[in-house]
């Protein structure tokens, strides 16, 4: 199929439609506005529903309602807007509802800036909201991968009955790259017949809720959910390695677009005779700890590169298990570590690995 030049935000919107998502609710915020704008035009053309909500808090409750009646639904926002949805995300997880949430991260904290950042890794993977739950979080590094992972998000959300987050940043949203869309037949949401509120004539009434006042029942619910998370970790952990087949001294860890800057740096370093591998988690929750641990086992030192103050760093350190030191290179506020910054940081790590620090 011919490739089309599209902005990440728009491509994700089209991917959602291709995945059979005909419901979108959202509130505007830079740098993801092209996504709702695109769907506000496209959804009515394909018989879908687009609603601009009055706030992100309302959004999170509206996607709860739509998912609860068994329709495929998506929302998108950026960092501060996702914070406003957090309470709703906990309720969605507590009611085991399949929804897809796009977060095109911008610089934080607070209202902060509108430029690209990876400021919400910790929020997406750990501290999303109150209670014991996880999201399944996918971090694309290109527009094509954003398309592919968007389509996968709906499948995974329904298969495991959990909210899935697509974690991008302003660069993924604003950048244009050539994309193609797989032409796949999609049916109605998986398994929704078993639990969704579709009208109870002829069957027992159902309840979709996250309220469980009986501690024994709630304990059992949470244990069942975490058993499901273990299956997700077993089956759905995804990652990419780059230049890891040959021996390397330094292993770089990076996710999202940042990993592509690191690839360019690795190619430049290769020409200078410096051997560097890279490990990129594609699922940041579940985190590919075992595979990363193995890759770290072949390195003398690790360099974690992020567009934040060091959030994935904690997961990398856990995977390193104290065997080697993990250095960190980060810029935030809308700045991106450059190819030259990464090259310099690799040389610093090499010096330290050789006993210089």
């Amino acid at each position: 199929m011919a490739k089309i030049l599209m902005k990440g935000n728009e491509a994700i919107g089209e991917a959602a439609i291709k995945a059979g998502c005909l419901h979108f609710f959202g509130y505007p915020i830079t740098p993801q506005n092209e996504l709702p704008e695109y769907l506000s035009k496209r959804l009515p053309q394909v018989g879908g529903r687009y609603i601009q909500t009055e706030s992100e808090v309302a959004t999170s409750n509206m996607i709860f309602g739509a998912a609860g009646v068994g329709v495929r639904v998506m929302t998108s926002s950026s960092s501060p807007g996702i914070s406003l949805m957090s309470e709703g995300l906990s309720y969605l997880a507590g009611a085991d509802l399949p929804v897809v949430i796009v977060n095109m991260m911008r610089a934080g904290p607070g209202l902060a800036g509108i430029l690209p950042a990876q400021s919400d890794y910790a929020h997406a993977t750990r501290g999303t909201a109150h209670g014991d739950f996880h999201l399944l979080v996918l971090a694309p590094s290109s527009v094509q991968e954003a398309v592919d992972l968007t389509m996968l998000s709906f499948e995974l959300a329904e298969k495991y009955r959990m909210p899935v987050m697509l974690l991008g940043d302003g660069m993924i949203g604003q950048m244009m790259e050539p994309v193609s869309f797989p032409e796949t037949e999609v049916g109605p949401p998986m398994q929704a017949d078993d639990w969704a509120l579709t009208g109870c004539r002829g069957r027992e009434p159902r309840l979709v809720s996250s309220l469980f006042l009986d501690p024994v029942e709630l304990n059992a619910k949470n244990h069942e959910r975490f058993a499901r998370y273990a299956v997700v970790a077993q089956n759905e952990t995804r990652y990419e390695t780059f230049n890891c087949d040959e021996p390397y001294d330094i292993l770089i860890t990076a996710f999202g677009v940042m990993s592509r800057v690191c690839k360019s740096a690795i190619v430049a370093l290769k020409e200078q005779g410096v051997h560097v591998g890279m490990f990129r988690p594609i699922t940041v929750q579940p985190f590919p700890s075992a595979a990363l641990s193995e890759a770290i086992g072949k390195a003398r030192r690790v360099l974690d590169v992020e567009m934040n103050m060091g959030q994935m760093l904690v997961d990398v350190q856990l995977a390193a298990k104290g065997r080697v030191e993990v250095d960190f290179l980060g810029k935030c506020g809308g700045l991106t570590p450059s190819i030259e910054d990464v090259v310099e940081a690799v040389y610093d790590s090499l010096t330290k690995a050789e006993g210089g620090g």
């Binding site: 740098p31 509108i114 430029l115 302003g170 604003q174 790259e177 230049n243 890891c244 450059s338 190819i339």
Partner: protein, 206 residues
């Protein structure tokens, strides 16, 4: 693998993002990989607006480039910001109608073209972006004149009244570019890199 990148920079409204998009489209037609990364946000309103287009025969690695191979620059603020960052051995193309101050780099060609004046002589200063795109393509021979002309026609199908002006501006720029290519003795299109094995470096799980 062959790859290059170019930064188009000007004020918001100068059409530099469009120039980059037309180049990116023509590269896709050639079967190349591209990325088009704009600076967005507050910079759009009255400030500098710019876009980086990365082109590769293989995977485009970093779409974020601080030191571009080429700079096509519309005005003085953008030149001051990006002129010193172009890689040694790169290429700088200046719109001298709007950039009056001299600019010198000893390690890469600085090519001057009164692009806005040429566009005004053709009847519309707003076509300056196409003059510059034409000159960049003519200098580098990154695509044929016909390839990009076709992309312009396809891009403006819903605004047909703009096609004639944009195509003639592009062709005028192309001719200037071919002349400047000889004058400055330039014979590079894409940067040659001995990295054929790059695509074999990637391994995906699952």
């Amino acid at each position: 693998m062959k790859s290059t990148d170019v930064l188009f920079a000007g004020f918001g409204g100068h059409g530099m993002l469009m120039a980059g998009k037309l180049l990116a489209q023509s590269m896709i037609k050639q079967g190349r990989q591209v990325s088009w990364l704009p600076a967005y946000g507050a910079e759009m309103r009255g400030g500098t607006a710019n876009v980086t287009v990365c082109i590769s025969d293989g995977e485009v690695m970093s779409p974020y480039i601080e030191r571009p191979n080429a700079l096509v620059v519309m005005n003085t603020p953008s030149l001051k910001k990006f002129g010193p960052k172009v890689k040694p051995g790169g290429l700088i193309l200046l719109n001298t109608t709007l950039i009056k101050e001299p600019f010198e780099r000893l390690d890469c060609p600085v090519i001057e073209l009164p692009a806005s004046q040429i566009a005004m002589d053709m009847g519309n200063a707003r076509a300056t972006n196409l003059i510059l795109l034409g000159a960049y393509a003519g200098i580098t021979q990154i695509a044929t004149c016909e390839e990009i002309t076709e992309v312009i026609q396809e891009t403006f199908t819903r605004k047909p009244k703009f096609i004639a002006l944009n195509v003639s501006a592009f062709v005028a720029g192309w001719k200037e570019g071919v002349r400047l290519r000889e004058e400055h003795n330039i014979d590079v299109a894409l940067t040659e890199e001995d990295e054929d094995e790059l695509n074999s470096l990637v391994a995906l799980s699952n």
